[in-house]
């Protein structure tokens, strides 16, 4: 019964919106409804986050009942060794796995790009496995592998697991840039006397740099956000932020963790804004090119 209510609640406005949103762009109502539609989606997207941020300033223990404004949970956060340790682990694992998989993935992508068609197709299909496969299956299968190889669960196993699901993202973001690359420039560099290594570093790498950067960022994000694979490959001692939060959801979450995510969220927005301030120049360069 509740299902039907849900479906009606979601489906009816959506159906009305569909008709309006896909209308002819000449009609004024289309424009208005498009803005309304997008706003609605944004409300849906940001409502929980708004709630989360607001309740990080709650003076009570609850993440759902407002009791008054305080910065108590931010203070608590500074003194909480457990969460800080988890945060540190998350950062170490995310950064190291992202850096390693970016370097390894970029080098491999260049190699794969110059492979013959048949092995190239096979290896690209294998590369797609962790992206297409469900997290839980990647997790349990790695756990089985560690059991067989006798690898202890801990930092090493966690980082290896993260590398193995990050590398495909790096390869898949570098690959398109390699395809767009003008191969004549590389040949020209060789003709002008550059060694293949020099040509690789000075000619190919700068051209695929945007792909490398986006691959790194993607790897970092995936690694920070990962929960399921970490759950199976981290063992009892090492705990990432996700695992810490998961164990908290069983005991009940305090606004402390809200405070932490608010801080992370603000930092991310700040970084984005700063990089956006630099962007106009990059845009001009693009237009000139």
């Amino acid at each position: 019964m509740t299902d039907i209510i849900y479906i009606a609640l979601i489906a009816i406005p959506v159906l009305i919106a569909l008709v309006l949103v896909f209308g002819s762009p000449k009609r004024k109502i289309t424009k208005v409804s498009r803005i309304i539609y997008l706003t609605a989606i944004f409300v849906f997207t940001y409502l929980p986050i708004f709630v989360l941020i607001v309740f990080s300033f709650n003076s009570g223990r609850s993440t759902g009942v407002w009791e008054g404004f305080s910065l108590k949970w931010y203070e608590e956060l500074i003194n909480d060794a457990r969460i800080q340790a988890a945060l540190l682990t998350t950062i170490i694992v995310a950064l190291s796995s992202a850096v390693i998989s970016t370097v390894f993935g970029t080098v491999s992508a260049i190699g794969i790009f110059y492979m013959k068609k048949m092995p190239k197709n096979i290896i690209m299909n294998i590369t797609n496995i962790p992206i297409l496969n469900a997290d839980i299956i990647t997790g349990v299968s790695l756990l089985l592998l560690y059991n067989i190889l006798g690898i202890d669960l801990g930092y090493a196993s966690l980082i290896i697991a993260h590398i193995s699901f990050n590398i495909p993202y790096v390869i898949l973001s570098v690959m398109p840039k390699l395809k767009q690359m003008d191969n004549n420039i590389y040949e020209a560099a060789l003709d002008l006397g550059a060694t293949p290594t020099k040509a690789l570093v000075n000619v190919i790498v700068p051209q695929i740099m945007p792909g490398i950067v986006s691959g790194f960022l993607l790897a970092l994000t995936m690694s920070m956000d990962d929960f399921v694979i970490s759950l199976f490959t981290s063992g009892p001692v090492v705990s990432t932020l996700s695992l810490e939060i998961y164990s908290m959801t069983k005991r009940g979450i305090t606004p402390e963790i809200n405070a932490l995510s608010t801080i992370i969220f603000v930092i991310v927005i700040a970084v984005l804004l700063i990089s956006n301030l630099k962007n106009p120049q990059a845009d001009k360069k693009k237009r000139r090119a």
Partner: protein, 373 residues
Amino acid sequence: MKPFPKFRLKRSVFAYPYVVFAIIFLVSPLVLVIFYSLTREIDNYSVNKSSVNSPEVIIDNLDFIGYEEDPVLSQVGTYYYDGETLTVINYRERHPETYRIFFENEKISLIEEYEGDTLIDADLKDVKFLNRLKGVYFTIDNFVKFFNTGDYMKVFLRSLYIAFMSTLFCLIIGFPTAYVLSKMKERTRNIVSVMFLLPMWINFLLRTYAWRTLIEKTGIINTVLESVGLPAQNLMYTQGAVILVMVYDFLPFMILPIYNTLIKIDRSVIEASYDLGANHYRTLFRVIFPLALPGISSGVTMTFVPAITAFAISKIMGGTQCATIGETIEREFSTDMWFGSAMSVIIMVLMLASMFLIAGGDNDGENIGGGLL
């Protein structure tokens, strides 16, 4: 002019380390899952019971020093040894269970809690490396157990339903969003698409939990409803709640691939359609929609696959009544790897089948995952 240099470093060499890495860490784990799903452990129980002289002696003989380092052991949980009995606490589930345990002095000890006796020493020497696979035999019992047990099938069908509904809603909500986005000016749409990605920087468990505080019985939505004079709704612990949060969590994975294909559509194709006399709707359904299909198919895969195996969401939002197959796999895996593997294999087969259906067979190996990037 010098002749073109004949000797050159074969650049594909760069990929060789990755090939080795991929075989070890991407392919062999899946092979292992399939292997485990088709095997079971030989039951040494009755055989070895006779070899036990008296429990006390065996307890004294056991070397407990190394257990914390043991990978198999440490995945199981914590241990209490009070001089008489050994209790195993599963650290994920927090309740005592019995387990098969490997000890570091190269000796398997089978530990079961049953009346009176606590330990049975199987005393198999040389338990190193691949020898851990020694005591297994091939069988399809794991699959038979899955398909013959009504509870597992019920959970499986429920997960299918939840995943299907979430994917459907994601598509219904996501396609128009991507379409509206793609119609915006370049600068605006870049900013807006980043805004869709921003929430992903907040841990998804927290975002899920935030929904819980919204729709709880004493939650914010109910408080608002009551203050307006409407009756409070019981939204938590229903399939609807699970679907709602799944739609919320996976929506970006649906929007972005579709958006990426939509902005790549050549404008001249659309203009040609208008020039040839098609009206707005005809162009939308006969030109834009078919051209967006690759994006839609990768969006559907990127939503459906995590939705069918997600277990944290259903655990937080659905409680015990809405257990999904992901939860079952996680639970079974800590007690019975063989059966857990069989369930994983079933999920993998299902996903492969759905991918082939969605991709329509023309999978060239580079389109699917790339849609998001």
